[in-house]
């Protein structure tokens, strides 16, 4: 395995983990927040009460655990791959989010929105065939 193909392989594996775990976490997050109800306003007391209810919800903590797993994979891959490569590549997760929202949360999704998800996938395909690391010297 050449260094370049090895870099592509480990990048692909970690991005695959990212796009599998994050949509599940996002789905749990959406489910948990709907159980809590709409944010009542911007007053500190309202915000405190709202976020207190959010962070005492078991569903929200399952979501946070899944998103932490995503974040660790994300940190590792960013140690060698460019941010502008990783972020668009991970957008494949939007397909899974839409499918989970439709089949698990029973959300109605319009044909236009499905088309939007398909176009996002096409964008991901285009990005996936570029080199993962193109950084020049960093100065800040």
């Amino acid at each position: 395995m050449t260094p370049t193909s090895g870099l592509h392989f480990k990048t692909s594996v970690l991005i695959l983990i990212m796009i599998s775990v994050a949509p599940l976490g996002d789905t749990f997050l959406g489910k948990g927040m709907k159980q809590i109800g709409a944010m009542p306003g911007w007053a500190p007391a309202q915000l405190y009460h709202f976020f207190f209810r959010a962070f005492t919800s078991g569903t929200i903590w399952i979501a946070i655990a899944l998103l932490m797993a995503f974040f660790i994979a994300y940190l590792v891959v960013l140690s060698w791959a460019d941010y502008s490569y990783v972020q668009p590549a991970s957008s494949a997760s939007y397909v899974l989010i839409a499918l989970l929202a439709h089949f698990v949360l029973h959300e109605e999704i319009s044909p236009t929105r499905w088309a939007g998800v398909a176009v996002i996938c096409a964008g991901v395909f285009a990005v996936g065939h570029t080199q993962p690391s193109t950084s020049e010297h960093h100065s800040w």
Binding site: L29, G30, K31, M33, K34, A38, M39, G41, F50, F51, A54, I60, I72, L75, V76, L78, S79, W80, D82, Y83, S84, Y85, Q87, P88, S91, Y94, I97, L100, A101, L105, E107, E108, I109, S110, P111, T112, R113, W114, A115, G116, V117, A118, V119, I120, C121, A122, G123, F125, A126, V127, G128, H129, T130, T134, S135, E136, H137, H138, S139, W140
Partner: protein
Amino acid sequence: MVTQIILYMMIVFVGTGGELFVSRAMKSVGEVTDFRPSAIARVVGRAMAQPKMWMGISLMALAFFALLGMLSMAKVSFVFPSTALSYAAGALGGKVFLREKVTPQRWFGVLLVCMGVVLVFLGKG
């Protein structure tokens, strides 16, 4: 509606700013070559010693709170695809602040993602 717009802008721009700081911090830590849990834990420890990492995490936490607020009011199938607008902000930020070379093919991919986001917005039921 105003609340949703404010939350949306926070998710996209504050979140992207946080991710750019995290990316810069991880490049300082160096490439991860050992994937054993203990080695990954050491990398995470080194990353947490970087001030830029804490700046990034703070901004991402703020964006996360905004995301919770948005999810309490809007559908999952709208919130997550629509916030993909951060891809454009990310590619631009990567080029300007991290000096990443964004190839024409990557720009094309980002453009397609943005067009998809527009369709998702138009398809809000």
